[in-house]
Amino acid sequence: MQQSGNLPRLNEEALIVEKPTRTVWQRLGREEVIFLLFVFPNLFLFAVFTFWPMARAFYLSGVRWDMISPTKRWVGLANYEYLFNNDAFRKTLVASLYYTVGTIGGTLILGLLAALLLNLPLRGRDGVRAAVFAPNLLSGAAISIIWVYMFDPRYGIIKEILGWFGASSPNWLRDPDWAMPAVIVVSIWRTLGFATVIYLAGLQAIPKDLYEAAKVDGAGAFWRFRSVTIPMLSPILFFLMVTSVLSSFQSFDIIRVMTQGGPVDSTSTLIWYIYEQGFIAMNAGRSAAATVILFLFLLVFTLFQVNYSERKVHYGS
């Protein structure tokens, strides 16, 4: 506008400006257009079914709404305030922690023992490795049903096996003290093989000469394990820990089938609470607020994982 006296120059500029708007697609090279076409369907679906609902969850966590009435009432942070002053939600956080620590502890320790065993030159170990891995691929809902039958306190197989050792069976899924251990056992049974297979890959990647060197230095079997195996496995251990945390936070089918969060909320994990508040109690606001809390947990752990794999890529190249 300051140069309004300079007419010819303005015209020239108008020409230049007009050209790119006409040919925005031409300015992008063929390759760029193909790039966009290739990634568009995926990104579009992410926009509609991942990013938009995520934003919507944040919004919904600030309203009170029964998912039916046409109006939502904006309540600000009241849902979060409710959750943190609510005994049931506190129980949910404790149950989530119990479930996660129990599952991960069991999976990582038993998985390591299984991997050490299957790393020995035993006949048939490949078959056992495959069998141990198999539960990972089975439907969580279906295997949970099998385990409910196994845990049956009257005629289940576990009652029988406990009987061999003179122990009597608790009423697993109806007893607030025993329901969570039962759920954790199923969870470990399902994820054990994944940990085993990853550990095995890690064990096989440890250079043999490290063990030789330790042997020359006079280290016994236990000391070789402490000073070679464990440190060399630590990145694998870290990877397994993070992925296990992520998957246990998301584990819904076992809880839904075996306990529905009960008895008396003893197995009500965060993901169950979200489902129950949203789809049974029809309380969209509280469900969304719990969702945001779950998301923040998961985000922290995923950032760990991404950081880990980034680092690994750098080491690799």
């Binding site: 992410f46 938009w52 035993l122 819904f252 789809f279 998961l298 995923t302 690994k312």
Partner: protein
């Protein structure tokens, strides 16, 4: 530590081997017992199931349980629904993963980092977190004006985008021999032909591995199909099975176990056929980035 005990070194090694084989057997049983209990339960009569002390094996095979399960719930329909949602669901995932991976691996784009980061963010948002808002979207609440509850597209489309697979295949594509691909480029091979005729055949093992992982995941999917269906005729196998269990569990275990066999048998067959492949794929995905 020199072995001066009453066991010679050779004896000790033999004992160690025996203990190892015993532990391996124990491990195998730990994994196998639930599968055994399912199969044996599915072939028992109600009396045999409720017998105390327990009966390990049925005296006569009660195939009747399978017929009863098939009639107690529309399993034929569940199979059809699951096959449709699995085939299209993992098919779309595979296409999305392949195209996205090719673009990220080989194509120049000024904002490529942004695209990369967007997919990374999507990777950080698990499906469980967006179930409630996605349910609202799919149910057409409040302003989309469509309703996909109880439809195949409602089950399939929200899960058709893929982040893990895109990164997994990108990594595989980047590992392909660069000279061969460059030679094809020089010969004037276009990107679409390049993808289908060169990259896809060369990266076949990785694509198949991801395809199998995706297939199994879709077959087992539970929370989303549970939420977007409320009629028997649209339920998938996993969801239908748990409704059968809710109504018959704790009483008709023979029938429920027969239903469980319906759900697990195809998975077990696929696994026996492709286990080496799946395990190696997952291991390399975890340990090689």
């Amino acid at each position: 530590m020199p072995s001066q005990g009453f066991l010679s070194r050779r004896r000790k090694a033999q004992l160690g081997r025996a203990v190892s084989y015993f532990m391996m057997l124990l491990l195998l049983m730990l994994i196998g017992v639930p599968v055994f209990w399912m199969v044996s339960g599915s072939l028992k009569t109600t009396q045999e199931i409720q017998a105390i002390p327990i009966k390990w094996l049925p005296t006569s095979l009660q195939w009747e349980n399978f017929r009863e399960a098939w009639n107690a719930a529309p399993f034929g329909r569940f199979y059809l629904n699951t096959i449709i949602t699995t085939a299209f669901g993992s098919g779309l995932e595979l296409l999305n993963a392949t195209f996205t991976a090719y673009a990220l691996a080989f194509l120049r784009f000024p904002r490529k980092t942004l695209v990369f980061v967007l997919i990374l963010i999507a990777l950080m948002i698990p499906d469980e977190v967006v179930v409630l808002p996605n349910y609202l979207t799919v149910a057409g609440i409040p302003f989309f004006g469509w309703n996909w509850i109880n439809t195949y597209q409602g089950i399939i489309i929200p899960g058709a985008s893929v982040a893990f697979g895109a990164f997994f295949l990108r990594q595989a594509f980047l590992g392909l021999p660069r000279e061969v691909l460059d030679a094809a480029r020089v010969d004037g091979c276009g990107h679409v032909r390049m993808l289908w005729d060169m990259v896809v055949p060369m990266a076949r093992p990785s694509i198949l591995t991801f395809g199998l992982i995706s297939l199994v995941a879709k077959w087992n999917e539970y929370l989303w199909p549970l939420v977007v269906t409320n009629e028997d005729r649209m339920r998938t196998l996993t969801v239908g099975l748990t409704y059968l269990f809710d109504s018959e569990g704790n009483t008709e275990w023979g029938v429920v176990m027969a239903g469980t066999v319906f759900v697990l048998a195809p998975l077990i067959i696929i696994f026996i056929w492709a286990q080496r492949f799946i395990i190696e794929g997952i291991t390399s995905g975890a340990t090689k980035g």
